[in-house]
């Protein structure tokens, strides 16, 4: 990857040659007409609701209700952070997102790095494996959740339970992976890593292929071991990408929703141990029709994503300056 992977760095648009005001006038009407549908849609479906989220979070408001919205100031936030009935599950959801991030980031990035190095080997057949590792990325999360729900089934007939039973020579009994509070989040993590690792793999692979081959050739002439080459050539060569992938994964970790909702609502996954911030937002709507609170949660969610993005930009810039 030759370009900086910072979020949406704008390539400098070459200033159009000094234009006569006539040329500008000629372009103005078609320019606005061509931009209008796309930009208009963005304004209406992204920018307006974005502002509306902040506004509605200051109200007590319902969906499909004749009751008028009532201004309540910062009450939603106050309850979210200080009222134990509301803040308990909310903090737990934040903690779950954090737990998810803390485990998924090293596991998934590490696995993706390993896979990328493997499929980057100059060996016959690696393209086949690259396809294999990437394939789960195209699977809709709703399907991934259903497949893994059966693998992790609590009965002695569940695939994982059976395999462990056989491997342990019968010592291992059935375990309720999704239902038990100690393994529910781990289960979500495993299936999410399975689905997502191929994505990180192709990003890292692209970076690996930018490392000049001569460095490896020189190192092997100097009798550097494969491991030494990995530590001294590969890792420094893709450091920026690794930083980038890590932060990307952090943002993903806070957006986790589909698999959590599906497994809680259809597979008896432990709600307390797996609910995420977005799950809290939709629960506020489904369970209590409290749209104001859902908006407040959304605003907090966006603030978190925003902070991560800013950290990402700063870090990427720093490593570039340092490199």
């Amino acid at each position: 990857m030759t370009t900086t992977p910072a979020v949406a760095e704008l390539p400098a648009r070459r200033r159009p040659r000094p234009t006569s005001s006539a040329a500008r006038r000629k372009d103005t009407l078609p320019g606005i007409l061509m931009a209008a549908p796309g930009v208009g849609a963005l304004a209406f479906f992204v920018a307006v609701p974005f502002v509306l989220a902040i506004v509605l979070s200051l109200y007590n408001v319902q969906i499909a209700s004749p009751r008028p919205a009532r201004f309540v100031g910062l009450l939603q936030y106050e309850r979210l952070f200080t009222d134990p009935i509301v803040s308990g599950p909310f903090f737990r959801a934040l903690l779950n997102n954090l737990t998810f991030a803390v485990f998924v980031i090293p596991v998934q990035t590490g696995l993706a790095l390993l896979l990328a190095v493997l499929v980057n080997a100059k060996l016959r057949g690696v393209a086949f494996f690259r396809t294999l590792f990437f394939m789960p990325v195209v699977f809709p999360m709703a399907l991934v959740a259903v497949i893994w729900r059966l693998i992790l089934d609590r009965s002695g007939n569940g695939m994982l339970n059976t395999v462990l039973h056989v491997l342990s020579g019968g010592a291992f009994g059935a375990h309720d992976w999704l239902g038990s509070s100690s393994t529910a989040m781990a289960s979500i993590i495993v299936l999410s890593v399975w689905q997502g690792a191929g994505f990180q793999m192709v990003i890292i692979l692209a970076a690996l292929q930018e490392i000049p081959q001569e460095r490896y050739e020189a190192a092997s002439i100097d009798r550097a071991s494969t491991f030494q080459q990995f530590v001294h050539i590969t890792v420094p060569g893709i450091r920026n990408t690794l930083v980038f992938v890590t932060l990307l994964t952090t943002i993903f970790a806070f957006r986790v929703y589909d698999q959590v909702y599906i497994l809680i609502s259809t597979a008896g996954a432990n709600e307390e141990a797996t609910q995420t911030v977005l799950y809290q937002a939709t629960s506020s709507i489904f369970d209590t029709n409290n749209l104001g609170r859902a908006c407040a949660i959304t605003v907090v969610f966006f603030a978190i994503v925003m902070v991560i993005t800013l950290v990402q930009r700063r870090l990427v810039r720093q490593t570039e300056d340092g490199a």
Binding site: P5, M34, L42, L123, G158, V202, A206, T266, A281
Partner: protein
Amino acid sequence: MAGSTPSAVRDVTVPVRSGRDPRRAGRLGAAVRTYLLLAVAGLLFVAPVYYLVVGSLKPTGEVLDGVRGFLPTGLTLANYEGVFTSLSSDSTGHFLRFVLNSFVISAVVVVGGLVVNSMAAYSLARLDWRGSRVVLTFVVALIIVPFESVAVPLLYLLQGQRNTLLVQAIPFVGNAFSIYLFYTFFLGLSRSIEEAARLDGLGAFGTFRRIVVPNSRPVFATVTILTFMSSWGQFLWPLLTVSEPSVRPLPLELSVFSGQQPVDWGSVFAFGVLLVAPILVVFFAFQRYFVQSVAGSAVKG
């Protein structure tokens, strides 16, 4: 940027130089080690997919039945029939209706998105009008707003449109990241042909449609793949806006279907195969594009 090395170069085996090379044995050992790791990782990655496919073809009682669920025995297409027969009334919804819903929604998002986003990007990249810089900044700023953070207020705005196909598609047509992808691609095109066309009297839109679009196949392919992938699997938004089976898309129906008691696991897996089949077809047909698009999309963050 990403994946610039042609895969053909990567797949070539290392030429073995001479029998006397002292490092030859070591290299062979490394190759064996690599293959071994690839095989183990490959098995772990493919196992759930294999389970899905085999399970969809087995008698439904054997799907959740320990190791037997993994064995390709007693294969039958009954589960696929089961998908159609158990989803064939107005109260459950009709299977083909779900398929149609998903296709219509994805088609509107993909085709509509290609048209409006490429036009907007061209206007921002090439046409000179007052305010275009401000609009560009606005679009780029919106890239970092994840859909999840506008879903709830959007539900409030569009609550009158719930249970329609349109409401499921329309918020995803305008896409800041697609505009950004088109924009960077158009900037990289040579200006000379466009300028010649303009001098010949072709208008801005005509130049775009006749000159720019035909020369921009790669970026249209990338945007198609990325938007189709995300729209086909969309779950959160339909969950918020759809309660009627008649407008339900496939992923949402899969969660409903797999949540009914008693669950017919064979049919659930057959449903799963049918859900992922269209996207796998596109994936295998355009694999290189696919991988590159996804790697390139990472710029988004």
